[in-house]
Symmetry: D2
Subunit: 301 residues, 4 copies
């Protein structure tokens, strides 16, 4: 059932929900979905595997693995589970690196995409601020990092900058951090996605870069992102959908389109405490990276 | 026709629109509405005068003057009209000060409410950053300024802090700057409201302060604010309203309430470029203040 | 032996060293000096008690207690003793509060003097950023806080602002945090001074405030400060002094004065890592305050 | 007369002053010195040309051109000459680009070296913040920009990062901005140096990068720098020198060395208003670049 209202999400797990209805999902051979819980149900981990072109087309996402680590309590002051989420994340990072053929002691370039001066786009730079950089210190596990800036500031695609640095400093893998857009407000500040497909044009909060993946970089590229905004159109669509169940779907689509596009296009929905949530997310992701990359090997050995 | 969906707006001009339908507005003796255009139609100035308790109850706003300076082009890089808006604003500030009995050479304390670390709430502190402080320099036109911070940072109501400072330094008027919430996204970054009613509990983006008005301070209090956010519920309600014209209003209200409250309560809608818009607004307001307070008298002399 | 080269220091312990030579110090009845070590000699605590006007004149400091907590390792990454210093500081804060007649559950207003935008003057604002504010939360131990800003930003003396707030919110004591100037570079980032004499004109890195003490505020005022700069003239004087031992002191004084004043007046000496040292100092002081004010009583009970 | 006290300066004009005494300077064939005045004597422009290895050894600077733009009034609020200095700077930038064979419409990568979080080292990043980036906009005059960060943040030499980006984006020249160390406090905030020799190890406020010059980059590299600090040892040496004229120079050297090294090594001297001065310098340099690179050709045509 294609052509549903094309409100963009960067999360594969949401693309799957909105694109494939329950039974349909099972039957599509191109997409595999799995989920599990950790920490007594407080951390929810799901995996969307896009196996082939058929699945990629259905979901609008490239072939590859999409892992989601969710924790509704992540950002709470009391009873928060920062540390547990960081460790779950570290585990998934190691698994992806191992799957990509990386060994213990591999060198990794971590890239913080986004604009440090725009709160909702500053996740990447903030993660880099917390990261332990070891390339100049260690024989093994060499971590380097760069905040390439956005095109309005540099005049260059982030992908150009990263490719140049990769060519000169020869890391064995790239890990890219970026802020994402989600479809549902409940994802804001609670969900982290990892994928081995890298970053593609049109992804992310800005639309500022060309492809940054294994093919363009010549080495494995893992992307880690977290939603910081929801398009305003999405919440209108959700509201209308539940209220207009009797209306034909195509007609409903047109009504919302007419309603939303003229004035809500550039609007975003964020929590009031977005500044604080981005800070917390960046801390959890940095810790995940610090654990994954420095606390011994990701070979599982 | 009371009990319309109570989505909050801090703008009197919006409260009037949503509360009073066209003909009704004219007939209500308690509220007077006037408008005019300047700069070849690029600046729109409206005035809502709440004359008595009847009007105050209808609008949900205290008695007094509410002036709105609107310019859709204010924040554009090309063809922007920062300067013109600053001057229109300065003109209104002087008029309100004069109406409040202030003379040329009066001393004014300017208060920047809000949290400098939260973009959408940082308008007040940013305005103070651009303001010319002259209390220590001039014999006349003594401007002092304070950023009292938010209660989570200080443990005190902004009103307590300001009242203490007023008691100690004896200014003749207070001008309070604050970020506001609007009902319509088209107000974000384009509208500035001035009022001689001060600030009241429940106003503003945060809900952080008790009354800060002429009665509590003992001197005239003028509030200048600009909307930086729209409640997410508002845009859903607008969408639903236009789609469900046949549904009974009371029923419609209940449906939206059920839909919106559980998940959209704390969400806000902002433009992607909110960081930039707040910077620009703060510049226009500071310039308005600098012109009004320093370029000769606001006595009209 | 008066009239030594008047290079200013805000530390009583340094004023004593430069003003009173060894045997002389003992004999002056107006100044008592004590010292002790903690944490295996890694924390050095000294106390200068200025008992009367004679001592005050000799030292150029008002009558009262001056406690200094020093730790050369405070700011080191490895083997640093942040926590130990915070606890030693907390102990001294409690003792001063108790001596001032404050009981457990007293309410305290903490004031962060200085300019947040000038690194060497930002200690006060940075401490306030880390402080736990509890006035709105607890029945006991009510902590409130204010960053009054500097006169160029507000047009008001910090003392005026604080006095107004004290009058309105009625705390039982004020604790003022400020950046200081020292005489010796080895004090930078390693020394914290506490005093029950408050802040006096001409103290501090800027020269921006009038008296902020028990007499002007009407309640006990404790000042906590740490040196972040050394006047450039001081290091020249030290150098010259050791090289010119044969030259007559009066002549030496004149030579240095001629040399130093014309060009070094406004210069300061700081470590290259001043930004980092101020951050670390602010953390230690905030923790000291958090421990002293929140972890049970400072009644010693 | 070698072996003078080796207090480091990044300014060729100071290296010349301290290394070569008057008549000697004239006679050394390896170094040419010229000076001129502009703007009625308020802007002083000097040129040190290091012609050969003999001159390079004498000065401790690589062969090439060193231009200095000085204006004691640059940073004053009243009567300041920001604009005039920016234009004088633009003129020199164009001359150096032309001499390096660059044509109108050449593409240039501007590199902001240094640490944005350390005031005295933040000149490069601040200049980049004010620069007009046009690579994505224009057919001609393509300006791109990068803030590579410091090695502790990235794990990479700035030169590696820049070289990678040069290889990928193919600019025709690199302009590097960096904070410098001077010998005399009167240079702080008043002097800007341009050179076609690039950046060499051991230059700059930090010591963080390997060579970044035409040889390593394969294209012309122009460096623009301004002193933000003076080593504390320098001012001691100056003081001692003028006081000890009768002492033998070699002995004097040893005395100062013994005195200064143990405790003043890592100390720097800055003006109290260093934060403000760096902001102003960065503005002047950006404007100079904006004028030089965007206002028509640097071909002189």
């Amino acid at each position: 059932m294609p052509n549903r209202f094309p409100i963009r999400t960067d999360l594969a797990v949401e693309a799957r929900e909105t694109t494939l209805s329950g039974s349909e999902a099972e039957s599509i051979s191109g997409v595999v979905y799995q989920q599990q819980e950790e920490d007594g149900g407080r951390i929810h981990i799901s995996r969307v595997l896009v196996k082939n072109e058929k699945g990629a087309k259905a979901l609008g996402k490239p072939k590859g693995n999409y892992l989601t680590v969710e924790a509704q309590d992540m950002w709470k002051n009391e009873g928060g589970i920062h540390r547990e989420v960081s460790e779950a994340l570290a585990h998934q990072i190691r698994a992806l690196l191992k799957e990509a053929g990386l060994k213990k002691s591999s060198s990794v370039l971590v890239v913080g995409l986004g604009n440090p001066e725009v709160t909702s786009d500053s996740l990447g730079p903030q993660v880099l601020g917390n990261l332990r950089i070891t390339r100049t210190l260690y024989a093994d596990g060499k971590i380097s990092g760069i905040v390439p800036g956005v095109m309005a500031q540099t005049g260059m695609e982030a992908a150009e900058i990263v490719k140049g640095i990769v060519g000169e400093t020869k890391p064995e893998a790239v890990i890219v951090i970026d802020a994402l857009a989600a479809r549902s407000v409940k994802r804001l500040g609670t969900t982290i996605q990892l994928t081995d497909t890298g970053i593609h044009p049109g992804s992310g909060v800005g639309n500022r870069r060309s492809r940054l993946d294994a093919e363009t970089m010549g080495i494995p590229v893992i992307a880690i992102g977290a939603p910081t905004v929801v398009g305003a159109a999405a919440i209108v669509y959700d509201a209308v959908e539940s209220l207009m169940e009797e209306v034909d779907e195509a007609e409903r689509y047109q009504m919302v389109k007419d309603l939303v596009e003229p004035k809500l296009g550039p609007m975003i929905v964020t929590p009031k405490d977005i500044d604080d949530r981005v800070r917390r997310l960046s801390f959890v992701i940095s810790e995940g990276l610090n654990i994954a990359l420095l606390h011994d090997a990701y070979t599982g050995a």
